[in-house]
Symmetry: C2
Subunit: 102 residues, 2 copies
Amino acid sequence: MDPDSLAKAFVEHYYSTFDTNRGGLASLYQDASMLTFEGQKIQGSSNIVAKLNSLPFQQCNHSISTVDCQPSGPAGGMIVFVSGNLQLAGEQHALKFSQVSN
Amino acid sequence: MDPDSLAKAFVEHYYSTFDTNRGGLASLYQDASMLTFEGQKIQGSSNIVAKLNSLPFQQCNHSISTVDCQPSGPAGGMIVFVSGNLQLAGEQHALKFSQVSN
């Protein structure tokens, strides 16, 4: 699978998990993982999932607008940059979001 | 200097160079550097600067809204995520932009 297709598949998996089973994101993070969320740094899979579970909305739907990826580091890693819309249940207007994964 | 201050200083330097002397960005990229610009991958300092010089506007002003950084890789690198507004000369409304550096 080429890197762009891999990045797209990862992004689809990440956000469909976010939207349907937020706790399932735990398996996509490790102890060394860090999430920076609106300026706050959160380290470790369990802390990250606790943060995502504490967000002030339950039902949400991410729709992806762009996925860009680049090679990162000597071990064959990737940086993935995503932008899109986040629709919250009961809200008329979608929010814009963007996120980077490494 | 702590990582957040370093990231902020880098971002201010990058965009003030972009806005006043776009060719000067060459020194901030290497041959292995990659720019992904609206889905297009461009590799190498000279190709990146040529792309930035070819953008269909001359005068512009970036104003930074957020700067987030995280450690990246074993060698003490950083990922920096920036969002902000891009004002083009003669345009009434600013564009939103976001960019990631590694």
